[in-house]
């Protein structure tokens, strides 16, 4: 595990949303490395360091996980369920993204222990604001226990 890496792992299947998220991170001058996986199963493989993600220098363990709620193979909610059962990973801060605030999804994800539920901003300005907030809070002020680094 690379202790110094400040990586954000984004699990998102829509390539346009990936582009927009990267654009927002660049515009907000977020220097952290952004790793992207395209479905829920890949997110689990990345977090476990399994298969193609075994090399932790290339695929550092993230400081923050950003999950899209609707993804193929495994949904964001299924990844969250899996994560919370892993003794050494369950403290990883996780933000759930969705196109709408479906009350059932919001309630389910909070019951599972998500740290934030965010409706994907529709415009670039608010998306950059979100990236700045992520940088300012989760990647600057928030402290993680050693077990989750």
């Amino acid at each position: 595990m690379n202790i110094n890496a400040q990586t954000v792992l984004l699990a998102e299947d829509d390539p346009n949303d990936v582009f927009l998220f990267k654009h927002a991170f660049e515009s907000a001058r977020v220097d952290n490395r952004l790793q992207v996986v395209n479905d829920g199963q890949q997110a689990i493989d990345y977090l476990s360091g399994a298969g193609e993600f075994a090399d932790r220098d290339k695929f550092p363990f993230p400081t923050l996980l950003v999950l899209d709620v609707k993804m193929p193979r495994k949904t964001g909610i299924e990844v969250l369920q899996w994560l919370k059962k892993q003794e050494n990973l369950s403290c990883l801060p996780t933000i759930m993204l969705s196109s709408s605030a479906n009350p059932e999804d919001v309630e389910n994800t909070y019951r599972l222990g998500v740290n934030a539920f965010v409706v994907k901003p529709q415009g670039t300005e608010s998306r950059v604001d979100l990236a700045k907030l992520i940088k300012g809070f989760w990647l600057t002020f928030n402290e993680l226990p050693n077990v989750c680094r």
Binding site: N16, P103, E104, Q122, G123
Partner: protein
């Protein structure tokens, strides 16, 4: 007969779930259209011809308008589908909260007077919040240009329960058009005032689910009085 009713209820539920998924999924391509155009505009502001900048601006504004429509449709399907639990609601506190959270409902844009005390009603708090917010937002929106909206909120006790009234000094509504006002996509003042034509359909659906009714008394140029009839707790 019971079997037929069950089948119909199932079909309606499936249609509502389908509608919810469809509108939810429409937001992703809209996000792409709006954001990509914004990025092109940002990158090319100095290089593009003014008429091209204008076209991009109109595309962005159209995407925003369509997204507002999608959001209202999502709200309508959510209010139609989600389980609803009725409880005693302190309307006065609820209205104070709604006004406190929305700058457009406060001076200098609007003056809303509440005739206190207001009685408690039997309602679902999120649904009643949505109804009252929609009515107050309409009341302050549909005023003559340059006028400050003045809204009076009061309650009347009657045999069926409580009638909450929202009386405004707005532009009013023609009698002929009042019936269709609470149906989907009906906009009486379509060109001069922005809107999706879903807000009052949401109010009607939400109030029906709380075993109540809604309506309006109005005359063109004389303001309107929208009301919600709800049960006592």
């Amino acid at each position: 007969m019971a079997e037929r009713t069950h089948e119909l209820q199932k079909a309606v539920a499936e249609l509502e779930a389908f509608s919810y998924s469809l509108t939810h999924d429409m937001r992703a391509p809209l996000r792409t259209i709006q954001s990509f155009n914004e990025i092109v505009l940002e990158h090319g502001r100095d290089k593009l011809a003014p008429e091209d900048v204008e076209l991009l601006r109109r595309t962005i504004e159209s995407s925003r308008r369509l997204d507002r429509l999608v959001l209202d449709l999502l709200e309508f399907t959510r209010i139609s589908r989600s389980p609803i639990r009725l409880e005693a609601v302190d309307v006065e506190h609820l209205i104070d909260t709604i006004i406190g959270e929305r700058l457009e409902l406060q001076p200098p844009k609007a003056v809303i007077k509440i005739q206190r005390p207001l009685p408690h009603v039997s309602a679902n708090p999120p649904s009643l919040t949505q109804c009252i917010a929609n009515l107050l937002e309409n009341a302050v929106k549909f005023v003559p240009a340059g006028a400050v909206a003045e809204v009076s909120v009061y309650a009347e006790q009657n045999e069926a329960g409580v009638r909450l009234c929202f009386k405004d000094n707005g532009i009013g509504i023609n009698k002929k058009e009042q019936d269709r006002l609470f149906h989907m996509f009906q906009r009486v003042h379509s060109t001069s005032y922005p809107g999706t034509g879903i807000g009052l359909a949401i109010v009607r659906k939400a109030v029906e689910r709380m075993h109540g009714q809604t309506g309006v008394q109005s005359e063109l140029g004389q303001g309107s009085c929208f009301w919600l009839q709800l049960r006592r707790p």
